[in-house]
Symmetry: C2
Subunit: 438 residues, 2 copies
């Protein structure tokens, strides 16, 4: 198609956003459908919230850094001139989930098991493959303390990854309580706790020495910092178990991990206790996990229990556990295979005055579920129309020239081999289906 | 689930927006899928553009009234304090389509046949069932003058309506050229043309007298205004044909209508020339149509040819034809049938210490594609757990009490009849599939 100019120059999609053309969009839609079907099998229900929330609902929920990444919507009408915002685009699916529990509480089943797959918007710098509009794929159970709920989320995510074609993966499990227990053992005050864990989470990024240094800056004695870092970096379950032997909090954390491993035994070797896996986010309270997969950078999924978050978001006190599949990261790593491109089953050329007959045949073929295009250009030349059929990746082209029309027939051309068949008009649909192997 | 309060009171979704809970969302997703499948059969390709466009891309594209309905996004970071906007939420799918032609021109097939089904946002007053976030369902062919393209859109929309369960519908066809020809016959200057047509479009709303009055205000002589209104209101093809006999523009319009009726003969009586059907929008240039359906208020679909719009939106000069299915109106009119509600195939109760076995069975059943829930609550009482299974609309509940565990069996309970079957653990999946009739 001829390049068009827009406002004198080709306008682009806004920075950090993408237009999804057919092939890529079909691949994305198929991925979302596949994951949805898995979540449905686990009894999770779909939930869709508006693209934006009231600014007062999200304000103060994400911390300072995240708040600066909100896309805020200007007030409208006479209030527009105020330059003030009253709405903000969805930043994640979690705050909307907490809000929905407030709005619809009594209408929701208990526990509330929901999945949400849809775009969120963050005004991050659009670089390093980061987008400002991207799909998050979340599954959460709100209202259950049961470890079965934790295990169910893990299984659902594992099956979701497989549905996305990620086979060679491994769940790394840890527990916030075990990690806090370790800090207790070393006498690190709990008031330093979450910050310390956020720092420990950087081990893979900045290394042991830098992490120990940052812990010292946070007020942990140097020798203690080095010992804690060494324990975590060793990534040895036995070593951590030994350290936590006499610490009640730590032992509770180990019990959470063991229960998780017991209940997810069906993953057969694809789940393990990984003391080094810390997770940076503050809000986790119990078992936490991350999934690494061969061929994919970083984590392809992550989650855990967050029993205080719904209350912290302004909802009532409610236990919760959830996970998120990194669908954008997975889609970005997988290539669009050439045969993902969807062509036409049948391309109908249009020669002479046979349009009504062409549309009749098109309609009959579409009625059989086939994907059918008709030539809409201006050329009366067969070669040009067959070139169009080829561009459309058509398996067969139908030709209805003067000859064919006089004989009450059509020619069906196999676009791969060039082989042609003459077929009676009356029999056209059945013959084309036969040629397509239907 | 217990009502939660959010910020001290139950927060709502923003005014004019909706949360879609499971049953309704599944119905909406099924509707979108059904229409998409129809459009795919017609060789249209899906297109998804970002939720927002650059403000300079949309500014001046919609006219004054529509511009005041844009949701504008505040600049971010250090620019936030300026109170200025630089982005706007998508107002329709048409301006993004024109922009995409500018951005991706040479990568797009020619003609470019695309469908777009997704939310748009308008800051309308949220009343009369109008929403500020609603789904538009558009199909357009850009780059073809062929009447086949017009007919293809009509057929695709007709099949789309049927896929949505709208059976008893009728296409009303007219032509902008025929209507402009009629105005020429009466000596109404073309400079008054579009405004006059917008007024004529109000016939059903405000009646003949008021329309004639408004035409007079627009500068049409009173007698002429009354004559034009009478011709349109009569809704008689023969009368309009007679009037246009000697007017070249009018005759071209009639030819467009006749061609459309010829090419859409397959709709058998569900399409007709309707002189009274005018369509208010300025941008149509050729054949136009609207669809009325028994049981639905207003039009359930509409469309037409708009050969100058893409250029007017800043793209290059490109013929175009399209249609829009009123999917929100259709969904709002149809009731969610009780059996649209999706229940569980199997609800697994959890008694005693059988969780690992319960999860194993759950996994095996889910592996067979069944929708399976496990009890995640705290009650150890079977009656309470069966109540949960009932709330989940489960077809079968599985019970694994101490008895069953000792015998290596499970009990499968038909939740509708109360009938119970004892089944060996090893045979559980096969027996449950048999009971489900799979």
């Amino acid at each position: 198609m001829q390049e068009a100019t827009f406002m004198g120059q080709a306008a682009q999609a806004p920075s950090g956003t993408r237009d999804f053309l057919a092939d890529e969009l079909r691949r994305r839609t198929a991925a979302v459908t596949a994951v949805s079907e898995v979540f449905e099998r686990y009894g999770f229900d779909p939930l869709e919230t508006p693209a934006f929330e009231r600014l007062d609902v999200v304000t103060g929920k994400y911390g300072e850094e995240a708040s600066s990444l909100l896309f805020k919507i200007l007030r409208r009408g006479v209030h527009e001139a105020s330059g003030q915002a009253d709405l903000a685009l969805r930043y994640d699916h979690t705050v909307p989930l907490a809000r929905v529990i407030g709005t619809h509480g009594s209408k929701l089943p208990s526990p509330f098991k929901r999945y949400a797959i849809g775009p969120v918007w963050r005004a991050d710098r659009p670089q390093d493959g980061r987008f400002r509009e991207f799909v998050q794929c979340d599954v959460d159970t709100v209202g259950s303390h049961s470890p079965l709920a934790d295990a169910e989320v893990v299984y659902a995510v594992a099956d979701g990854l497989q549905a996305l074609g990620v086979e060679d993966f491994r769940f790394l499990v840890n527990s916030r309580e075990a990690l806090r227990g370790l800090l207790e053992v070393y006498g690190v005050g709990l008031e330093l706790g979450d910050g310390v864990l956020a720092t420990l989470d950087k081990l893979d990024k900045i290394g042991e020495e830098a992490v120990a240094g940052e812990l010292a800056e946070r007020g942990v004695a140097t020798a203690t910092a080095e010992a804690v870092v060494a324990d975590i970096a060793a990534d040895s379950p036995d070593r951590l178990r030994a350290k936590l032997e006499t610490n009640p909090r730590g032992k509770q954390g180990l019990a959470e991990i063991d229960r998780m491993l017991e209940l997810t035994g069906g993953l057969e070797g694809r789940i393990a206790f990984a003391p080094r896996m810390v997770r940076g986010l503050d809000y986790y309270t119990g078992a936490i996990w991350e999934v690494e997969a061969v061929g994919y950078p970083g984590a392809v999924a992550a989650g855990g229990r967050y029993d205080q978050l719904v209350a912290a978001l302004g909802g009532s006190d409610m236990p919760a556990v959830g996970g998120s599949v990194g669908i954008e990261r997975i889609l970005a790593t997988q290539e669009t295979a050439a045969d993902d491109r969807r062509g036409l089953d049948v391309a109908l050329t249009a020669l002479g005055h046979s349009e009504a007959g062409t549309l009749r045949l098109a309609r009959a073929l579409r009625g059989r579920g086939l994907r059918v295009g008709t030539y809409l250009g201006t050329s009366g030349k067969l070669a040009k129309q067959l070139k169009w059929a080829d561009d459309q990746r058509a398996r067969f082209a139908v030709i209805r020239g003067a000859d064919e029309q006089a004989a009450g027939e059509i020619t069906v051309r196999d676009m791969a081999t060039g082989e042609q068949h003459r077929v009676a008009d009356d029999d056209a649909v059945a013959q084309i289906e036969r040629l397509l192997g239907h």
